[in-house]
Amino acid sequence: MASHSRFKNMLIAKIITRFPSLANRFIDAYQPWETEGVPWTPVSKPLNQSVLSLVTTAGVHQKDQTPFNMNDPHGDPSFRRIDGRVSLDHLMITHDYYDHADADRDMNIVFPLDRLREMVDEGTLGGLAETHYGFMGHIDGPHIVTLINRSAPEVVQNLRKDRVDLVLLTPG
């Protein structure tokens, strides 16, 4: 049963990646969390003196970590810590809700770690954090509360500990 619905999700993902206009149906059906106001922190340091952490919701994690749970229709609100020194060959994607065939070939299109490392080498970016973070998008229902009240604060605590100045977020 679970594998049947996973197959269905993956098929839909392939179709809407090929024909983006069909995605509108799913986008309109999605009722995001009500948000109030817009949080704001001014940028205080130049890019070439800033340490950056990469946070993705593309389902990226290390191959030696537990994959995201694809059998829960509400998604998986947990996250994976990605070692800042990792080679992209040691990463993989677990996410049935978009077609990641291209990202499986070159992880940089959802998790541009090689590009950011090049920027550090060139001196345009100050540095990269010791840890990056992989989430799975497509979080729904009760898991949104877990995402906001448990996962996000843990990530924030770690970002502070690592003295991260800036965060770049990428979707799937």
Binding site: T57, A103, L159
Partner: protein
């Protein structure tokens, strides 16, 4: 993605997000977003096109340092598979 972005920004760390679904960003309202009308799974573009990935990153960092109205979504001019990035 926008929800996590909001929590990080709220905690005092400036953030920039890349979006490929404008409607989500409009509803969730992250502090700063660059938007591309590109297919799911391709926020930085096509595989093995480093100049394309860098072009998106440059625009994202530009937005990070220039946006001064919270909730701004910057529409990037790049068309899918119809731009030349390599010099």
């Amino acid at each position: 993605m926008g929800l996590v972005q909001r929590e990080i920004e709220k905690a005092g760390i400036p953030t920039i997000g890349i979006s490929i679904v404008r409607k989500y960003s409009e509803k969730v309202k992250p502090p700063r977003t660059v938007f591309l009308r590109w297919p799911f799974g391709h926020p930085l573009g096509e595989p093995f096109r480093p100049a394309q990935h860098r072009a998106v990153l440059e625009k994202a960092f530009d937005a990070l340092y220039t946006v001064d109205v919270p909730g701004t979504i910057v529409d990037l001019p790049f068309r899918w598979r119809r731009e030349k990035y390599e010099k």
